[in-house]
Point group: C2
Chain length 567, copies 2
């Protein structure tokens, strides 16, 4: 931590808490300049619940494939542990803290009572999977998403265009419809269906709020309303009043004040009662102000296992294959656009674990670096184009711009001389091509991308960043914080506390970017123009229906495994 | 060795010698039944000369890329070492040996004097690369092959159709034209240009012979003549009399008697002077009689680092993408067809060395099996189609039916769950698809393939063999000898010695196949029909000009490396 930032007499601080997939991180930030004063992490005791609901009395055997649940008790525990620890780490007086804000994975949503109690915490419901929050990566509601999309297109619902034509199985409506289908009794007992992003705020300030970001991107809230009763009845007559009964609530703008910290939450966190609690937010979107001044066209790519691309636009446009566009979805007053790549770091990790021979692992051990670092180095040292390979970055499916989870990865150009670092480099490049495809699609759709800023864990890989600069032919800026989401939350806390008039004003002071850290090399960029043309050709061939081999291979695979399991 | 085969009083034996890329193997075989009585191997001291011509006085630094030479002294040494050792191993009296025959890699060809002395053995020429035999895999004559093909098509030479439309850079004419271009003085000093397959016979019987197999497949000898003077002059005026001066000689049928073993050769080998020496032959083609009864439509696939497919046909047909069709090219009286896959075992070895993580290498060590054996087992245990992958087997280019060394490998269908054994299985399958493409092309061209027999090192992999049976939907026979080429040579020796009237008669007695060892499973074959359809679609897309991405990737790669080397 920056010691000069700590405990300067009279300084005001805010706390941002970033709720991730496996842990939550609290960050104490000085309001006057965004200096990061202290931090602490709380691992979730139950992590991702994807096998069984636990042992002993609760044991009910394996969960079906594609399920992913969480325990809201872990979220509360993180407030209790990480917040006071971060304040201690900062060495400040808790009385100096004037606000708190949080961000969450999304859509992570759950059924609760009218007072906010999660159903899974009610007596007798701990063994019912549908009583738990469904984590963003719960993928078992695909049939429900399919129905949602089919009916939307049949009825020509105008909101479907705001989501690139497809609602994801990861989102609120698919998960709620699965609950109704598979455990209708629990569906009835749920007074409310709420994002964890909003639920955590409820725990802090004691009143329900709904934030503009998750309502818009995950809750199909557009132009002031949810999907109509008629549409919902067409999905299932029992679902007709879903939005009215279980979602409807005034939508609060990001950076707004949800309320004051309750005495109970003050006791939990060690922070002063009554301080500002900001409206909830999503981890990707909240990162935008952490990257400094807000501007339309400034795309922030949060690059980790997957990549989220978020960018503000002054105008509404329908961008093919985007995840969604939401009025005020990133910052009030602008249209917030989201796109993404399903697999990025995941692809590199998969290859590192599955495709690299011993000699490299041994070399990494000798040098005491990780295998991935070694590959990064060796791949980074290769001249652009020297491996003769082109890869499609779809090992985890394609989120944007094809929105197709049935697609898969491909590598073309292998020879008997091809080495593991060469393939690794082709995979790094494939994700850069995927990002270029997204930025070009935005440009063409009338949402120009004028700046590209990288946040997230992958910015540590300089070779990867240089490839992105060369492939996109853009100077690459990087966020100035290793805790982008938590800093973004802290900025929202400062606005909710009234320290700044709005998020852009706070972002300009408290956010940080390092501009143009990686600059494209014209020769390499020329080579990548050629390779990108090959990528586009294969992208369209495999991804736009010319050869649906990837669907068929997946179908054969699934059929074969089913036959083996006797299904 | 089969002890019962050894030294039965009065039994006659023959010796077959198989000259491979790195060593020669002699096999002593009983004439009456083909029993293998003894064997011995001689490693070539200088092996493949692809870096420099040696040390000391001969040193001249690095050879250019793609060069591959050999030392004919190694061939003679193999006769001196391996033949007597094999006879000793058999425990027979050398006087029981009635004939000797050899087979060779091809086209491995060299410049010699009128008495058969290789130019590289002349004083002062040991440092001249072009004075040495150019091994089959010498690939530095590609520009010359390109010229040969271009001029042949311009002039509509009718023989070009007998070679699937393309003469390979590996063959006699390309290598001779390179000699003329690059060392015209040596070209002039060469009285003859001869296959090692014929040169070794010259050493044994003291007179020059030319065999029908190499003359036809490697020497463009068709319908009784070599390419015309006019054609050769069009290549280069100095080349006009090449065939007439340096090749022309009566063509001897396979299994014919080239002459009697000279006293000098008898001293060298320890065999009786005057015994029959058979006409030369090629390692792949000579294997056909070793696999038992000769019949049109019986395709023998000699599967090793690459695969040669040889099959006799009663009629002449032009099969698209075959390597060649030669009258009597495999056995006198039938049209011999040859096709091939440039990379087979090479692809598996490449992946094993470059694409398999440590855990597998460690598991193989624990079980004391090779990594490739472990992969074979694990890949073999997977249900057909369960990996969701399809691969093109072109990591080493494509020999048949596309005849295109610029093609490269591709894998489609990768996911974050894909494992190394799954990829390995997809590569095994890709080569089986390649073989099915070849057999179907023969079938369609009017050369029906009625039986498939496997010879060569890869037949040891039962999972691979089962995949070939399932993919080709044919029962798979396997050769009954681990020394197919040497046994095939021994059969030719027996015919040359007059023990049998012709090669088919000898093959029926001395050759061995195990019929229908691997039978297709109908369910797996159905799955493979689906996957093969995908293979064909991708094969044609990448291989027949729809998307020439592989050419472009290779060109970018080569350009990049040249730039780096400052070329």
């Amino acid at each position: 931590m920056d010691v000069s930032a700590n405990n300067r007499t009279g300084d005001a601080y805010v706390v941002g808490v970033d709720f991730g997939t496996l842990s939550a991180r609290a960050l104490v930030v000085r309001v006057s300049d965004g200096a990061e004063a202290g931090t602490a992490v709380s691992e979730y005791a139950r992590g991702v619940i994807d096998r069984s609901l636990g042992d002993g009395a609760h044991f009910r055997g394996e969960l079906p494939p594609d399920w992913a649940l969480q325990d809201p008790g872990d979220y509360a525990a993180a407030l209790r542990e990480a917040v006071p620890a971060a304040v201690r780490d900062a060495g400040i007086d808790p009385a100096q803290v004037i606000g708190i804000a949080t961000d969450f994975t999304a859509s992570t949503c759950m059924p609760v009572l009218a007072d906010g109690t999660p159903l899974c915490q009610l007596p007798g419901l701990a063994a019912r999977p549908h009583a738990y929050p469904k984590l963003w990566k719960h993928h078992a509601a695909q049939p429900h998403a399919d129905r949602i999309n089919a009916v939307a297109h049949e009825r020509a619902e105008k909101w479907i265009g705001r989501y690139g034509g497809k609602i994801s199985s990861e989102w609120q409506f698919a998960k709620a419809l699965q609950l109704l289908d598979e455990d209708p009794e629990l569906y009835q007992r749920a007074d409310r269906w709420i994002e964890a992003a909003d639920w955590i705020i409820w725990q802090l300030c004691g009143t329900e709020t709904r934030n503009a970001c998750t309502a818009g991107y995950k809750g199909i809230y557009q132009d002031g309303s949810y999907p109509s009763r008629g549409y919902l009845a067409a999905l299932d007559p029992r679902f007709a009043s879903f939005a009215q009964d279980k979602l409807a609530h005034p939508i609060a703008p990001l950076g707004g004040r949800a309320g004051g910290l309750t005495p109970a939450a003050a006791a939990l966190t060690g922070l002063p009662a009554g301080i500002a609690v900001a409206v909830g937010n999503v981890d990707a979107h909240v990162t935008v102000p952490a990257a400094g001044p807000i501007a339309p066209g400034k795309m922030v790519a949060i690059m980790g296992t997957s990549t989220c691309h978020v960018v503000n636009g002054a105008e509404l446009a329908e961008v093919p294959g985007m995840c969604g566009v939401v009025d005020g979805g990133i910052v009030a007053g602008l249209w917030g656009y989201e796109a993404g790549q399903s697999g990025v770091g995941d692809i590199f990790a998969w290859f590192t674990a599955n495709g690299v021979p011993c000699e490299f692992a041994e070399a990494a051990r000798r040098r005491d670096v990780s295998l991935q670092q070694l590959l990064d180095e060796q791949a980074g040292a290769l001249p652009a184009g020297s491996h003769g390979l082109i890869a499609l970055d779809w090992e985890g499916g394609n989120r944007s711009v094809l929105v197709d989870g049935r697609l898969s990865g491909a590598i073309v150009g292998l020879t008997l001389a091809t080495t593991a670092p060469e393939i690794y480099r082709s995979l790094l490049e494939s994700t850069a091509f995927g990002t270029r495809m997204i930025t070009e699609t935005f440009d063409r759709a009338g949402v120009p991308v004028t700046e590209l800023v990288v946040a997230g864990g992958l910015l540590k890989s300089a070779p990867l960043m240089q490839i992105y600069a060369d492939v996109t032919r853009r100077p690459l800026s990087v966020i100035g914080s290793g805790q982008g989401p938590a800093l973004g939350s802290a900025i929202h806390a400062a606005v909710a506390a009234g320290a700044y008039p709005d998020v852009p004003a706070a972002a300009a002071v408290m956010g940080r970017e390092m501009r143009d850290v990686y600059r494209p090399d014209p020769d390499r960029a020329d080579t990548y123009d050629e390779l990108y043309a090959e990528y586009v050709r294969l992208h369209d061939y495999f991804g736009r229906g010319t050869n649906e081999v990837m669907y068929r291979l997946r179908a054969i695979r699934d059929r074969t495994w089913q036959a083996r399991e006797g299904l």
